[in-house]
């Protein structure tokens, strides 16, 4: 079984030059995702289309775009669902990042911030199970780690997709804003660190006029995050911690 859909895809040269929408009619298998449809545009209609993608299962974070105006990882959005929302399906690059061509954005500044956050993509400070608190029949309570397995690493939930940067209204008004991804990463790195000096340094990075205080608390980042990272709550937690620190210094 197949479905046929019209895609309105944003096309541009680097820097957003000559930006326009072009329409493509694609026929794909009926369980196709929006990313499959984008790939079909490239494979069958227009070989000049550029887009980022790698894992096709929401793990690499490279394919983030706007579908019908909302930030998503198109590899986990059913084309049929997107079509029900709007036809033709509209596909655009993420906002608040420089346009590098068609659906590709320049992620240099984004990864500079993520590197500065020092957050590791794997981590050790999480129990093996439960991984999802709801409805496991209590079985996860019984989990223990046998000999030789006490060295589990866990991948960080944040996939560095930039969706929160695109969704953030503050990011649109202050390009020096560190942004929800970096601020959440700073919070995560600080929670992982046992070194008091490093923890202070990470909190310093989150502080300041382009840091946690710039956030307008719209919670769009948390709402759009495909990985339930909750940057907004992390920003609020770091604000509280900075205030506690100021108070402690004052009464010392």
């Amino acid at each position: 079984m197949t479905i046929t859909a019209t895609l309105e895809v944003f096309r541009c040269a680097p820097g957003g030059v000559d930006g326009r929408f072009e329409s493509y009619d694609v026929t794909v298998h009926d369980n196709a995702t929006v990313l499959d449809a984008i790939e079909a545009v490239w494979a069958n209609h227009d070989r000049s289309l550029v887009f980022r993608h790698a894992c096709h299962h929401a793990s690499c974070g490279s394919c983030g775009v706007l579908v019908n105006g909302s930030e998503v990882l198109p590899c986990i959005v059913d084309l049929a669902d997107a079509l029900r929302q709007r036809s033709p399906v509209r596909v655009e690059p993420l906002r608040n990042l420089p346009l590098a061509g068609d659906l590709v954005v320049d992620v240099t500044g984004f990864f500079e911030r993520m590197l500065a956050s020092t957050m590791s993509i794997t981590r050790t400070a999480e129990d093996a199970l439960p991984l999802d608190a709801d409805d496991d029949g209590g079985r996860s309570q019984a989990v223990s780690v046998p000999d030789g397995l006490a060295r589990f690493n866990r991948f960080e939930n944040c996939v560095e997709c930039g969706i929160c940067i695109s969704a953030c209204p503050t990011m649109a008004t202050d390009e020096r804003f560190r942004g929800p991804a970096m601020l959440a990463a700073l919070g995560r790195a600080r929670a992982e660190s046992a070194d008091p000096q490093q923890r202070e340094h990470l909190l310093d990075l989150a502080d300041g006029e382009h840091g946690v205080w710039r956030c307008h608390s719209s919670w769009e980042c948390t709402q759009r995050c495909p990985q339930q990272v909750d940057p907004a709550e992390s920003i609020m937690e770091q604000r509280r911690e900075i205030l506690r620190r100021r108070f402690r210094r004052r009464v010392r």
């Binding site: 000049s48 550029v50 299962h57 793990s59 590098a100 068609d102 991984l131 780690v145 690493n153």
Partner: protein, 385 residues
């Protein structure tokens, strides 16, 4: 004397590791990749850091390659691996009988293996089918293929390599039986140019045959796709394998908060866009459920298919083709300056790179030795800086 220049076509795991190896040996490297890093076969792989357990019985060479590389990767990219081990699970008498063969094969391939009783297996993996009779624990792991490639390429760049993504090879520059470079187009700007080189390496994976045809040579790569289904919940600590000969849907790889069930195997001519057969998805869910019943009530999060670049052997079924790799010096086809590396696994990418780089350096008259098994990689994030 100017440094030798090598162009690597393809920024999947093989091309990325090869660029890193050659850059460390002082070669001037340019990587050209038509899409994003890992946008072909590597990106859509199973994320499994092989212990060699899946191959050791029928393909000892691939099994040994896997465990050797598994241990090496733990040294050079420790922050990119989830070292959660793997479990080979017997659920019926046939599996149980296979387990002895499996344990012997692990011993032959020096893969550490430990037998678990039914009770121990269920204690370690509470979502495992209650039909489990016994299990064997091996040092499998999980990685993320995209960042795996970025780390190799970021390190290559730190050592002077250039990496050009969204740059497609449109032709090979050939003259008098020599490949002297590549013609490329930057797909973002539409600009074409010719890049000269002393040697060109074809690391195009399932596209290797197409690339080689530009120099009128043939490489026996058969694009062999597999379907993988990701469900939206993590249902295991370890990688769960069925303890039997490899077949469809016999492995569940936990990654982050998801579980990836795989895989199937069929052949295609064109690896560019592979429609996913619905019945393959259903089969993955059914087979996955027989290992972990909870799969049945977990929503599907993603479905992917991509072609493996298996080296085809006449009369051999794809499931039985060795997962080891091969390097083709096209001097044998009358073409100088052109080498293809294909087959293999992402887990063995570093070893593949070592082999092809040895051959390439030999051809270029360089005596520099491989250092990739000792040099830790820089942060993958530096690729974009």
């Amino acid at each position: 004397m100017s440094r030798a220049r090598v162009i690597v076509i393809g920024a999947g795991s093989t091309g990325a590791a090869t660029a890193h190896d050659l850059a460390l040996r002082g070669v001037d490297v340019i990587v050209v990749e038509r899409g994003e890093v890992a946008s072909g076969t590597t990106g859509r792989n199973h994320c499994l850091l092989h212990s060699g357990g899946r191959y050791c019985v029928n393909d000892e060479e691939a099994g040994i390659e896997c465990i050797d590389e598994n241990l090496t990767l733990r040294r050079i990219m420790p922050d990119l691996l989830e070292l959660n081990d793997g479990l080979f699970v017997a659920t019926d008498e046939a599996d149980r009988a296979y387990m002895d063969t499996f344990l012997e094969a692990c011993a032959r391939c020096h893969i550490p293996a430990r037998e678990l009783s039914r009770a121990q297996a269920l204690e370690a993996e509470p979502f495992l089918t209650p039909d489990v009779l016994a299990a064997v624990q091996v040092p499998d792991g999980v990685f993320e293929p995209f960042r795996f490639c970025l780390a190799f390429l970021a390190t290559a760049r730190a050592n002077g390599a250039q990496v050009r993504t969204f740059t497609e090879v449109t032709d090979l520059a050939t003259s008098d039986g020599f490949v002297s470079g590549v013609e490329v187009v930057d797909r973002r700007t539409g600009r074409s140019e010719t890049l000269g080189a002393d040697l060109v390496i074809n690391a195009g994976g399932p596209w290797a045959e197409h690339l080689a045809s530009m120099a009128d040579v043939d490489v026996p790569v058969s694009p062999t796709p597999g379907v993988m289904v990701t469900v939206g919940r993590r249902l295991a600590n370890m990688v769960i394998n069925r303890c039997n000969v490899p077949s469809d849907g016999d492995i569940v790889v936990p990654q982050r908060t998801t579980s990836i069930i795989g895989t199937t195997s069929w052949s295609v001519d064109d690896p560019d866009h592979i429609p996913i057969p619905s019945d393959h998805v259903d089969r993955m869910m059914t087979r996955g459920r027989s290992l972990i019943p909870e799969v049945a009530s977990t929503p599907i999060r993603g479905v992917m298919a991509v072609a493996r670049p298996l080296i085809s052997k006449p009369g051999v079924d794809a499931r039985d083709v060795s997962r080891t790799f091969e390097c083709f010096d096209h001097k044998a086809d009358g073409i100088e300056g052109f080498v293809t590396i294909s087959g293999g696994k992402t887990t063995t990418a570093r070893a593949m790179a070592e082999k092809v780089s040895d051959i390439v350096c030999g051809k270029l008259g360089s005596t520099a030795e491989c250092r990739t098994s000792e040099v830790p990689l820089v942060s993958y994030r530096r690729f974009y800086l």
